[in-house]
């Protein structure tokens, strides 16, 4: 569904963020992208979203070249506090993308209800983001993305700023969302455990200027569960392999 072909991006002559990336994402998959800090994961995500004009290579969504933000794509950012509009209620925030989709009002109202219910926040629809905890705010951001009914959901370190307990709940939410809404998810994260726990495939990036170090299929059985899966033999094996890869990655291009 999503093909990335020799993606290259630099922020000026001295700063090459991404050297060359080539990979595919199939429909319905959850793909996690991991790598060391500063390796261009966010640059990659912004490029996939069409928020960045890439320096070289091509990104195609369903065969169409991505040059500006394509239809059917939603993004969840790490800083939920800044991406939710503080002057809108939770409901207004979730509604915002739907307003300009020419949807009949009962359809959009239904979608808002469904997505808020899916993240368990129907009861705070009238509150403002700053009245909610961090985890709840991020859930609102997820609900907003869901209500949009995207084909592809991009998440940029969505749980990095959230406490461990909430993170576990949100991870399970993402898995459930993929099953229920049948979306394709690309998730950027620095947390390897999370990447292995959630995804069907893990793409490992090298340090900047980044290249693809490995594309590892995660053959851990589903449905997955925070306690048993994370203690299972399969999980630990795959996890150590990923960590080893990141630790002894190729040195930066000289």
């Amino acid at each position: 569904m999503l093909t990335v072909d020799r993606l290259h991006h630099s922020y000026g002559p001295d700063h090459v963020a991404i050297a060359s990336l080539t990979f595919k994402v199939n429909e319905g998959e959850i793909v996690a992208i991991v790598g060391p800090s500063g390796c261009g994961k966010t640059t990659l995500l912004k490029s996939l979203a069409g928020l960045l004009r890439i320096s070289g290579g091509a990104i195609r969504l369903d065969g169409q070249l991505v040059s500006d933000v394509p239809k059917g794509l939603a993004v969840v950012f790490q800083e939920y506090g800044r991406s939710l509009l503080p002057w809108c209620t939770v409901e207004a925030n979730v509604q915002l993308p739907l307003r300009y989709q020419s949807l009949p009002s009962d359809v959009s109202r239904r979608r808002i209800k469904d997505s808020l219910a899916a993240v368990g926040l129907l009861h705070v629809a009238g509150q403002y983001p700053w009245q909610l905890s961090g985890g709840m705010q991020q859930r609102v951001a997820i609900a907003r993305a869901l209500a949009y009914h995207p084909k592809l959901l991009l998440m940029d370190e969505p749980f990095a700023s959230v406490d461990a307990q909430t993170r576990a709940d949100l991870e399970d939410l993402v898995a459930e969302v993929r099953d229920r809404f049948d979306i394709t998810i690309v998730l950027v994260t620095h947390d390897i455990d999370e990447a292995v726990y959630l995804s069907d495939r893990v793409l490992v990036l090298s340090a900047s200027p980044s290249r693809l170090l490995a594309d590892i299929p995660i053959n851990v059985t589903r449905p997955r569960d925070q306690i048993t899966t994370r203690a299972s033999e399969q999980f630990l094996t795959v996890r150590s392999e990923v960590v080893r890869l990141i630790r002894r990655q190729a040195p930066p291009a000289s």
Partner: protein, 283 residues
Amino acid sequence: MSAAPESTKAPAGSHQRKLTFSPVIAHRLATFFRIFAGALLFFLAAELLTWLEFVPSTYLPRASTVALRVVELLYDLPFLLNVAHTLGAWALGLFIATLITIPFGILIGTSVPAYRAIMPIVEFMRPIPSVALIPLAILLWGQSLTSKVILVAYATAWPILYNTIYGVHDVDPITTQTARCFGLNRLAILRRVTLPSAAPLMFTGIRVSASMGLIVIVGIELLAGANNGIGSYILFASSTGGHMDSVLASAAIAGLFGLIINVIFGVIERRAFAWRLLGVASR
């Protein structure tokens, strides 16, 4: 977490450095060019508008004429004396206000009962336009330097006082508590935590009241009978006919000085309080 080495820059050939400007100089040059271009644009637009003569040029002379007059005035000793008189009175008033209100403000801000009792009064006095007292000042002290200085001092005192009290009162209690835990006594906390923390807001108060003071002093000079200062020069030039270029030029010079003052304050603010990256709302 991985301890992988990071490198965000592709190493540029170091031999290339000699040919490019250091980024700091490049930035300064760009800023200077930008300002110059902006000023030029302004002048050209003004020249075009005045050339089109929507208003007859006896009333609104050409921008070039005004600019010439500005240069002439800046070489004219009597005029410069007027400017010095205005700026001197303004500076003196501002200085007196700062000298008096900052210590008071610190005292009030650090004492909770004093804050609760006095702050309502300060909030009450602050929105009162000081220009309303110009006739009173003239009555009491005539059109003298004294009345100007006193009025400027009065006008500038309130914003400074308000900001000082507020800045001192609103120091982050976590910072002061941390200092207490490290054994600092009250005076040390004041010196090393409270004052530095409140300084940006205090300075904003001074900056705001500086421009307020300029307005007040030109205002008082504008009333008939004044004999010194930019304001009286403008008034004089406008009452004797046919000197529109002087009127506009002197107003422009007043603006230029105001601009220079603003810029100086801005530079000091950025240098001294660069750590306060989050904008301090001007109150």
